[in-house]
């Protein structure tokens, strides 16, 4: 079951709906579902997500070697996007966060390659400089302001929840 064409009617930019494994997003999908035909799509959509996205296992560099893939170490922060790179080998985003002392910290976070992210409903237009971002990352082992994306919301809308997939796959490698 990997029929991605099933998802075409539900692209997030068209309908404001996305698909994900997280409970809150399932709720959001149901909110988005109006016509009966879309409701019919819900089950295969989630099934396809369960079976297919989780298969994108090996990054070409070891994510577990670079990041602390542990739910208790995740960091969540909000800021303003300064850059978005849609390209191989991995899509990544830069953003500025104002810390408790009022200093602006420049952060970078990577996610999966474009051909995988497109299956998550992303495109080169999903994130733009100036967007408000709320992001959860698995932090870099080296301790700098870098991370591996777990969840992302752009301008208040969740566009990716990769947490469970990362926890399930990256830790087996």
């Amino acid at each position: 079951m990997n029929e991605w064409w099933l998802l075409q009617g539900l692209r997030p930019d068209a309908d404001g709906c996305i698909f994900s494994l997280s409970p809150e997003i399932k709720t959001e999908i149901q909110h988005c579902m109006g016509p009966m035909k879309n409701r019919l799509l819900l089950f295969p959509l989630l099934l396809a997500n369960l079976l297919a996205i989780g298969k994108a296992t090996f990054a070409h560099h070891g994510t577990r070697a670079a990041y602390i893939v542990d739910p208790s170490k995740e960091l969540t922060m909000s800021g303003t996007v300064t850059g978005f790179h849609w390209g191989n080998p991995h899509v990544y985003v830069f953003y500025d966060v104002t810390d408790a002392k009022g200093d602006v910290v420049h952060w970078g976070a990577e996610t999966r390659p474009p051909f995988v992210m497109s299956k998550h409903g992303w495109s080169r237009n999903t994130i733009k400089p100036g967007d408000q971002i709320t992001i959860t990352i698995f932090p870099a082992k080296a301790g700098g302001s870098y991370g591996l994306v777990s969840k992302v919301s752009i301008n208040g809308k969740l566009v990716l929840d990769d947490e469970q997939s990362r926890l399930q796959t990256d830790n087996n490698q």
Binding site: N2, E3, W4, W5, L6, Q8, G9, M36, K37, N38, L40, L41, P44, G54, K55, A56, T57, F58, H60, H61, G62, R64, A65, A66, Y67, H85, G87, N88, P89, H90, Y92, G108, E110, P113, F115, S118, A140, K141, A142, G143, G144, S145, Y146, G147, Q168, T169, D170, N171, N172, Q173
Partner: protein, 272 residues
Amino acid sequence: MLKPFQVSLAALAVALSLSLLYSPHALAQAGQKPEAAREAPHRPGTRAFDPHDLSGVWEHEGIGGTIASEPVPPMTAWGKAKFDAAKPGFGPRRVPPTEDNDPILICDPQGFPRAMSLENPEPMEFIQIRGRILQFMEWNRNWRTIWIDGRDLPKDLDPRWYGYSVGKWEGDTLVVRTAGLDDRTWLDPYGDPHSDALRVEERYRRVNHETMEFTMKVDDPNAYTRPWMLVKMKVLKLNPKYEIQEAICAPSDEKTFNKDITIPADTPAPAK
């Protein structure tokens, strides 16, 4: 009192609703793919197929981030030295990306047999034409040729990233032998080595229309003390609707990524 044509209309409406709810092809219709809607329904495993035709887009079933290989047998001294020089980003010997010397990180070809290992979850498209099978792998946009016109492996092959492959049907199993392999490639993301004396035997068996079984044995007396199964079993599923995507390792992309992310993410934060 309903007039007959109203009853017919109501019945038609109910029938249409039911067909929409219960027909698997309602999904195809909702997805606006008329060609899918026209396909006859069938139960998995019941559709007719030619066991000697492996054409189609095949996806890997059941990949969960582990490689179902046999345990690696003891290495020779030569193999062990090569293994120790490999610094992988995965497995128990993993190192951070800036120390990782996996050849694919500089966009060297994955090569064979690694491209057919369990490492890649991405689909492949097989095209079978007279005398040969072409395998197109989504990952890194690779392809290889398997000659099935009865020829034998040439002697004294020069090493190549994808070697030279010949296949022969043994009943309904296609047995593919490969030699002439470049020893710069790793067998897997864990840095298991091989020499240019490596011989690989793959077995493909289409068990029904939508399912193919795949195994791969590696035999390299220079590196290992016995042959072993690099892939004990991989189940491939046919997906006629999938379009192969572009996933290319381009050196310029890699350079940008390393400058922007890999190196700074791997650099210890300055003390505050």
